[in-house]
Symmetry: C2
Subunit: 149 residues, 2 copies
Amino acid sequence: MRISAKGDYATRAMQELAMHYNRGPLPIEAIAGRQQIPVRYLEQLLLILKRAGLLESKRGVKGGYYLAKPPNQITVGQIIRLMDGPPAPIFCVDPASHDKCPVEAICGFQSVWDEVHQAVAGIIDKTTLEDVCHRAMLKLEPGAATYRI
Amino acid sequence: MRISAKGDYATRAMQELAMHYNRGPLPIEAIAGRQQIPVRYLEQLLLILKRAGLLESKRGVKGGYYLAKPPNQITVGQIIRLMDGPPAPIFCVDPASHDKCPVEAICGFQSVWDEVHQAVAGIIDKTTLEDVCHRAMLKLEPGAATYRI
DNA sequence: TAATTCTTGACTAATTCAATAGAGTTAGTC
DNA sequence: GACTAACTCTATTGAATTAGTCAAGAATTA
């Protein structure tokens, strides 16, 4: 029932970029350093996020990555689905899976796992990077209600 | 975000035993056959369930496994926790983990993952084997409100 | 005692995951 | 226009986990 390191790294990198939103590109090294992620591994993840349209990048000196959209338009769900696939706890409730369950006719768990799937999806799809930045700022400055761009 | 084959097999085996509750021991082979689980693998899982006090067994002719408690006193959560551990999506919200998150102070995701954890736990801990049997029976005989022991 | 069934621990095979490596390409700057 | 910082892409490795197998043994019943 775990998200992968891939999903963990990607979400944290995106938080970092969200907190830097509108301040120009952020180099991979900077993200990796602050979030304690292996640089070479992070490269791959940022590429995936870029191809999916969540990030844009700029090469050369002063280059780096930046969000393609405002933080309130990117959800945790988008990132997790990209990295780990749908949050279905088992293939039989995964809309992306084409495998047929051999015991579907007698199994009482399908609806249970479907409830779990919907519950998780509900949370990660409603939570945006803006929300996440909020929560991070509240940790740093308890009492602050908003974060500054 | 998946449960393991171990968790899947174990829960289904328990449903099988629940549907057979009060009808005497059910041999491993019978469970494995009906639920399409590799016999040799299932052996191990049933032993774990037995050691945890969820099952009892009887050897020899007419032997097999049977529930140690009524189906309404065994939850899906108990089985899953036994096989896969707590339903925490990441170690930093797993009460059983002693690892310290290196970026805890700046991470906005801890509360998100905790919400997920609680949501999943809420579902699997409230769902009993009796509920699961119900759902299975509804599949077999649409319209039936209860299942027969 | 013979057939049946659970019990135990060791073992192997396969898969997945995380991470690394290296050779390139592009863009900005002096 | 050369230098350098930074992105791009593919391949490979190594470790860890997971799934599944095997063989020998112990208990129970007929």
